[in-house]
Amino acid sequence: MTALLEVRDLVKRFPVKRGLIVERTVDYVEAVAGVSFDIEAGKTLGLVGESGSGKSTTGFCVLQLLRPTSGSVRFDGQELTELEGEELRRVRRDAQIVFQDPYSSLDPRMTVGNIVSEPLVVHKVGSRRDRQVRVRELLDVVGFDPTYVNRYPHEFSGGQRQRIGIARALALSPRLIVCDEPVSALDVSIQAQIINLLKDLQREFNLAYLFIAHDLAVVRSVSDRIAVMHRGHIVETGPANEVYERPKEDYTKALLAAVPVPDPARMRERKSERRRLRDVVAT
């Protein structure tokens, strides 16, 4: 069986430019330096790493929101890197994204209803009436009171806004959602609500997630497989429990050891482990 998403040797280089009037490229930064992974339908791959590791760039390249420099992204058997215009738009119905910041990713001038129905309008799905029904359905599914469809995003808290963002991503019944730090801007009690929601939706709609986050505990709670990124490379990948319990690479070990856990006794043990591994991540 082939996976829903197959990424092979993905590379993304950004030019480094110098000069005020005549800009010229003096160098390249390789944000993603040849990564490969698969995601099966209905499963989650957790992509973890520290800031600058290239994990978000990878997510953007998968959806062709950024065009990869080289490499292959096959979604449902189709090579996305070769698609353009209308063809690419058709694929986007099946592959959506949820962003980190529920404050800046929703247009403040649009009502909740318009935000969620926008993908339906763009892809010309159903009549106006059908779309209204669908929007209410979607808001209901994500636990957002549908009576507020005519309100604006600023009237809601971070958690409620993230629900709006998720409803928008679900509008076209996608099979893959790239979740780019979807809960890191939220308070713990709200974060738990959203994580539970994402897990419920996955089961209900057989969604595949590329779950990008820096919080290793959050990632473990949603992921079947894990890929650890460091400086543009995937340094380790495997089933979640294996990577968390028996990490093979020193970088993964150091990363895991650095996470503070809410248990003072356990924390003392982890602290000594962490000091032992400190030199590994020193740059």
Binding site: E50, V188, R220, P260
Partner: protein, 340 residues
Amino acid sequence: MSATPLLEVRDLATHFFTREGVVRAVDGVSFSVDRGRTLGLVGESGSGKSVTALSIIGLIPQPPARIVGGEVVFDGRDLTTLSERELEDVRGKRIAMIFQDPMTSLNPTLTIGTQLLETIRRHLHLPKREARRRAIELLDEVGLPNPEARLDDYPHRLSGGMRQRVMIAMAVSCEPDLLIADEPTTALDVTVQAQVLDLLDELRTQHDMAMIVITHDMGVIAEVADEVVVMYAGQIVEQAPVTELFARPEHPYTEALLGALPQLEDDTARTGRLTAIPGRPPDLLDPPEGCRFAARCPYANEFDGCATHMPALRELRPGHMVRSEHPTTERARRKEAAPA
């Protein structure tokens, strides 16, 4: 334990007077910090933890905010009665503070050296050359590589972790008795966070400094705190020594908060569900008359008066305070006593 604590906050109330009305951001908060100890102040956004810290050192934005009640007794003096001039001598010298985002707390147009020397010369009255030597020593102590060259660098040349080290160097430059750290590692990567927390711990031990660490992260609390204060909606809802708090949380909010955390070391994390807390904190413009957690509390009911009477903060066990009609141990006892 020493007889008089270094810092004693008594019944502190800080309100914001806004066009919409009075926001009771901090509403009757009391705690104390002993010399050389670390108090962890934990809560979610809007719980009042940062405003509490800013009130202690008189840095709340006035207006709209004002301390409307209570005392902040530091080393025998009530800081709320001091003039701005007198406060300036305490701030930086006896009590120092570091903030979440080291980029916004450093002036981007001045070199690291200029900013560090300003603090040292303002409080220690050292001549320029000695101040410079002290600055290099400090940067070395906080683990900044090549400290002498760093003095002439501008903040943007440093990474987030390095900037936070500079902030820490500034904060400890005058050997303060108390360091207040407001989300000191929230903006940092986890490996850098570990280094900064280790550094703070080393400095605290070496200089016998007391610390107040403000954070939303229960993991950070478990790592650094001796004593923990849990805040919710402007009030303290629970307070206990760190081991006690994590082993036997009493307040339904603390219990729920710990249950809502995804666990790093749990191999059933993928299949399980987190115990989310329904709803969200109350609006402090018009807080509920009764218990502020009642609307989200799984144990509140119509007969217990939670909705109408504010529970008092009471001592359940020695050193363990809780503000709830439904603490865990009492629920367990009630359950046992109830006929089958």
